[in-house]
Structure formats: C-alpha cells, structure tokens
Symmetry: C2
Subunit: 456 residues, 2 copies
C-alpha cells in the first residue's frame, strides 16, 4: 500500500494518537531535538521522511513505462488543461524586447499587481496593489502563508478530501493538518459546525478551504461561508482561502470569496494562481493577498530571501488578465460541455457514481472496485485496449512509435484524505481534455472495469 | 540599529547563549509548542519574527524615495549585472511556438539537464541527468537542501561573512547557522581547522561554503578544500557548496569544486544558478545536484509539492548553455576590467581598503566610518552631488524627471556576519556596472566620505 498518508498513519499508530490527525512533522521534529545524540549524521530530515508523495504524480513512472511501450494514455489524473494560453499573452511574450532578463521586485511588478486589482474588482473584491504579493505559483503562496502564520505544532483545520499538496506544505512548515470529513454520499457539503468545533483546541490556528474545491468541485454556499466566518471570528483563527478556480462555476450559484466575509478582514489570506484560468500552469505565477499588514510584512521577508518571482511569467500573466474576456467566455463554455460529458458518462457506467460538481474542473467518483489505487496502477500496467478507433501511432519523447493499445490514468482519491480508509474506492477525475477524448476515456474506463472485475 | 542579526542577537542575549551562534527559530519554536496556551492566536509565526531582512534590499525604500525625487543612484549594492542576456537565448524566447504554457516535469526538462551535464563536464564534474534537479533559482535549491537534510535545531557551519539569505533559509527550515569568522585583514582566507572543530558538536550536520565567495570574492585553495573535505569526512557531515560564480575566477588559480573532492561523494550537495553567468537573474532557474540518491528522492518530494520550475526560464536557460562560449569570454573580460577599476579605485580613496577578490563579482571594503549602515543610509537620504557631469534627467517608473543630484547605494556588510560587531565599518560592493559608472560611483564615494566625516 503506497498511499499518501501511509507515514502519518504509521505515526498515528505508533503514537496511539487520536483519530483523524495528520502529524506533519512538528512533534517528531521537536522530539528529535532532544534525541539528537541518538541520530547518526547523514540521515535525511524527519520532515523529508514525512513528506507525502503526490497522489497526482506518484503513478507517473508507470505511465512513463507504458508510453515508452507505445501505449496511448488518456490523462484524467492531472489538472493540466489542454486549452491554449491566451493568444494575446503569447504575442506579448514573442515581443519581449529586453536586453537583460533581470530580477523583478520581490513583491512582483507593480503593473501586474495593478492589473490584478482591476481583475478582483470584477468579483467585488476591493484591493490596492500593496495588498497583493506575487508568488511562484499558488504553491509558494500556500508555503509562505504557512511559514509566516504558523509555528511548528500549530493546527490547521481542512475539509477533506483536500488538495494533497496542502499536506506537503504543512510538513514543510512543521504544522499539523486536521481534517473534517466530507463525503461523496452527501455531495461533499460541509459537515455541521459541531464537527469543526470538536477539533478546535489551543493549538488550532487556522482554517483552510479551497473554493470552488479541488478535488470535489464543491462550491461553498453563503450559509457555509457564514459558518466558517463565525468559526474564524469566534476563535480568532486565520482563514487561508484557495480560490484559484473562481472562474469555473457552473450552477449560477453565487461565488462567495473569503474576502467578501465581513468582520474577519484581518484574518483572511487569499491564495490565487494564473495557472488554471489562463491555461498557463508553466509560468509559475500566483499571488498571496491579505488586508493584514503584519502578515504581508512577514511574507515579504520570505519573498526577499528568494529574491523574486519569475520575470517572464509575470509578463505573460499581465498580458493574460486584460482584454481576454472573449477567451475566458470560450474557455468557460468548453468546461461546461466537458463537465456534462464526463459526469453523465461516469454515472452511466454500471457501479460508478459521481455527484455533479458545481465548480473547478475536477470530480471525485466512486468506482466498483475494492482498491482504486490498485485499479489505477493496473490500468497503467496491464489494461491495453485496441480496436478500429485506436490510433496507429503515438508520439513519445519526440519520437513517433507504433501504438500498442490505449488506457487511462486517474488519481486515486485516498491520497486526498487523511482519515485512514476514506476514499479507497474513489478516484479524482479532471475534465481538462476535449470531449472527444473524455468520451474515449470513459469508454476505456468501462472496458477496464469490466476486465478488472472479471478477473478478481 | 536595524542590523540583520538584531533578532538573533536579542535571543542570544536573552538566552545567555554562547558566542557566535545564530538561533534560527528552532529552539524558540520548540519552546512555543509547550507554551502554546500562552500565545493568543493571530500572531505571526516565531520564524516569521526571526526572519532577517535582506541587507542587500533593506535600504531599497530610501533608494525609492531618492529616485522619486530625481536622484541618480549608482547601485553597487546588488548583484544584478547590467550585461545583456545571451542573444541566442533571447532569440529562442521570441520563437517559442507552444500553444499552451503547460507544467514542466517537477525535476525540470530532461533536455536542460542533459545540457547541464555537458556544461559541468567542462569543469571535470561528471554527472548524469538524473543527478540534476532544476529549481526556481539557486534560492530554492538551498531551501530544499536544508528542508531535506536538516532537522530543527541541526547546526550548519558557515564561514562568515556569508550570503545573507543562507540565514533566511536556515530560519525557514528551523536550522541553526554557526559561523567561523574570516577577516578582511587576512584577505578572508579560511581560519585554521581548529576553529571549525571548536564548533562541531552532536547537532552539527553540515558545512556550507560559497566558492568563489559572495560577498568576499575569495576562492578556496586546494589546501583549504582538502581541509573542508577532511572535516566533512571525519565527522560525516553534509557539504552544501554554492558555486554559482565558478565562471568568474580572475587569478589563474584552479577552481576546486566540492564535486572534485574524493571520498565525500555522498555528502556533497552542489547549489547552482544560471542567473549570474548568463545575466538572466529574472528567469529563476537554478539546480540542486548530488550523487546521493536518498537526498534526491527527498528533494523530489518538495519539488513535486511545488509542481514544477518555471517553464519559460528553462527554455531560456537551455539556450544559454551551449553555443555561448564567445559570450562568456566577453563577459569574463568585462568583469576583469570592472574588478580592476573598482579595486584600484577603492584602495586609492583615503582610509578605504579592500583585498583583491579572486572570483565572483563582489568585494568587501573597509570604509573610514564608524557605522557603515548609517553611512549607506545617509548617502541615500542626504548626499546629493551635482556638477557638470551630472545627467540632466533620470528615468524613474517610466517617467523622465529632472535630475536633482547623484549618489551611491552600497550593502552594509554587517548583515553578512552573524558575529555581533563584525563588519561594522565594511560594505559589500558589486562590480556589475560598466567601468564608466564604477568610476563615477567611486568619485561619489570619495566625495560622500569627505562630506560625511567633515560633519561628524
């Protein structure tokens, strides 16, 4: 069992720790200080041991081997859209006429931050350029928020399933993630406030939400956001809110940003990224946004240490923000179509179920298998479909090779939970492929399930 | 006194800690776990408090105000070369014909890693692409090396003065930097091995060197490198070696990489960056290189969490590595000239002294002032020179404004030491400007010193 929380679970067992806690290095680290003389040198760090492997990327070696052998893989595992980056942004990149690609300011270019002020204004989020700090992707924003706000041992409450890398950044900062479980049967809505309050103790320092949610596609309602606001207010917690998918809301329900919540303005840290909305994941441009000047001052010290965010990425990002309304509309329409195609398709397969995601471009689906990770690995290693629609060749590592069969890649969902046993028969599916490819992937999923279950 | 180690010094006093230790958060963090109930929420983290401000960037607000008022500033404070990025790399950037700027592999593109294998081969460093991990600048390589190899409370021995951001990354990882002092009077050569051994205890886990050195320009001799090798070997320590300035060695002395040292192949982690040698600091491409597979496996977990290094930067970096021999020769020649111009000039000013740096493009200079930080701040705030050579206008924030005077910006050297009192009358000077501007800066330095000291 290679599951993401394997280590934390081992620690949980070893320490007889109470249920649903994800020990992210801090306690062991603190203990290791006192035990130092027992540790021989040249060991890697405890947090290095505890760092989870990405559930999205962990099956990558199997995929690599399959492709190397001519297998065509339909990737539903990763949020890498196949859509083009805005033409406008690519044009600006071609016309960069700098002689020297120099450092940019640690906070990011002011012109980009000004463009973002206008962008957020469309969502009724009122900001000044000073309240925005440009980061190397949303990832760095999460890491710097944790490093700046949390001490080792401090606890963050996160609804699970959750974006797996939050756990990794918590380990990096020595913080501890504790989860309230949401379930597929309840459509991943937030549990009652009591379940949050059960977890709150003197170490609780923050709540972290992702809205619209990765991996579930859930969108928090006004009522749920008010519940979070009241918890944050009454316990004086930080609220880290990852809202990188705000562009993708399909239900007509209102988007409630953490920045819209009254009375907790000093508590909120907004995490954002250009990656998904402009299909430019590679430029590594995100942002950390807060009205709290002390947090900003602290985050800026981490920003200065790493000198500056990527220069070229900032140029592309700035060009992507304005004058791309038509692009965004078109992209949105494509996701509407892809979502319908994937969700309808999954629910038509015998034994499969997924709720209708309200936002983002992911869904968590239940499959008729005992262990979704085993099934995902089996698809990459053994399942090879071939019929008249199978392409003749695939391109891999720059060479064209004969196609020996088709298969699918999915992310086992257990890696998005910290509670042992949760998500064992679930996968996360991203609908970032064109509908034609999604349809083919669904066809393959049905065939794969049939073959897998007939052998079991 | 705003000095960089102010906080650590306060802690040192408070704790009655022994001399020359830089407490980087771990002890306080550990203590904060036990004292948690005393801490109200919504405080920033202890490591956030302890994070040093960059001595290179801390005077930036004064510079901003001066420029806003029309002052022309000659910047000797920062290692931002004014030289152009290789034309070949800029051409490749203009010809990027991707439709989607997608994620790159977490380890970085293999083609870039292969190009680096050839590059290191020129320096008799034999590597495979698998031994190279591409990072967001050398900064991320240092951070990931610390996070992967060091537990909170682990100690790293660093010769001081040292690149200030090492301290910041140590704070991020909860590690502790302890320094052996090198002095301007001895030309910044390494102290005797006994001074290292005095610091080694059961918490010592690593030695960190920068070679050629930032800020001193010192180049370690074969004898010194052997001394370090023996220490690393006999105490089984990690050796983190930052060699981003290998291109810039002016004395004909051999460049001894940590990778050349026999018998400690598993101990060495090489830090590298494209920023300085190709004058492309903004692309944020560096590398972490090690023969130690376990370190690589751990570092890769941190790499996967942040998804990928900058895509566009990798394209530029790859195009910079090959076919740029003529460029590198020309750049080298310019630094030879600039070095001569700066060093001769500084040593001609009454009361100033700097040793001849053997490599990199920095030097540490002693000035005839009590407090170099005060003097540097005074230059930015009060010193305004005007004569017939003063330009009529400057360009600031995109607008052309009347030039009201000239001044210089330098980095106070105290921020590069952790030992209280060290470097108080020293500054770090970067010779990254053209000789004409270096000459003008030296002229201004002489005038500024005269005016400053006549007022004292």
């Amino acid at each position: 069992m290679l599951r993401f929380f394997l280590l934390s679970f081992a620690i949980y067992k070893k320490k007889n720790y109470f249920c649903k806690i994800f020990v992210a290095g801090s306690l062991d680290s603190a203990i290791s200080i006192t035990n130092k003389s027992m540790n021989p040198n040249l060991q890697i760090s405890q947090r290095g041991v505890e760092m989870p492997e990405s559930p999205i990327r962990k099956l990558a070696p199997l995929a690599y081997d399959a492709e190397d052998n001519g297998v065509k893989i339909y990737r539903l595992n990763i949020g890498q859209p196949d859509l083009p980056t805005p033409k406008r942004a690519l044009e600006v990149l071609k016309n960069v006429d700098r002689e020297t690609l120099e450092y940019s300011p640690s906070q990011g270019y002011k012109s980009l931050r000004k463009a973002l002020v206008n962008y957020y204004d469309r969502y009724q989020i009122k900001l000044t350029p000073e309240e925005i700090i440009i980061t190397s992707g949303g990832s760095e924003a999460v890491l710097f928020a944790f490093l700046s706000c949390l001490n080792p041992g401090d606890e963050i409450i996160v609804p699970e399933p959750a974006y797996a890398n939050y756990m990794a950044f918590a380990v990096s900062a020595g913080a501890v993630i504790r989860t309230v479980t949401t379930t597929i049967d309840e459509g991943f809505c937030l549990p009652k406030v009591e379940q949050f309050e059960e977890l709150i103790n003197e170490r609780t320092k923050a709540i972290l939400i992702c809205n619209p949610n990765n991996p579930t596609g859930y969108l928090y309602t006004q009522k749920e956001m008010n519940q979070i606001r009241d918890l944050v207010k009454s316990h004086n917690l930080y609220l880290f809110s990852d809202e990188v998918y705000r562009e993708f809301i399909y239900t007509g329900s209102p988007y409630i940003s953490a920045m819209h919540l009254e009375g907790i303005e000093q508590n909120v840290v907004l995490i954002d990224s250009m990656s998904k909305r402009y299909s430019e994941c590679g430029i590594r441009i995100g942002a950390l946004i807060t009205k709290n000047a002390e947090i900003r001052k602290t985050v800026m010290k981490f920003c200065q240490a790493r000198l500056s965010p990527p220069l070229l990425g900032q140029i592309v990002a700035e060009a992507s923000i304005e004058g791309t309304e038509a692009y965004s509309r078109k992209v949105y329409e494509q996701y509407v179509e892809r979502r319908k195609c994937l969700i309808d398709g999954v629910n038509r397969i015998n034994g499969c179920y997924t709720p209708l995601p309200m936002g983002a471009f992911y869904t968590v689906a239940k499959l008729p298998v005992d262990d979704a990770e085993k099934f995902c690995a089996w698809c990459l290693t053994y399942f090879r479909w071939k019929d008249s629609e199978t392409p003749k060749t695939i391109t891999f590592s720059g060479r064209e090779i004969e196609c020996t069969g088709e298969t699918i890649m999915m992310a086992p969902a257990a890696g998005f939970y910290t509670t042992p046993g949760m998500g064992k028969d679930e996968v996360r599916l991203a609908y970032v492929l064109c509908t034609e490819n999604i349809k083919r992937a669904l066809f393959l999923l049905e065939k794969a399930l049939k073959e897998y279950n007939s052998k079991a």
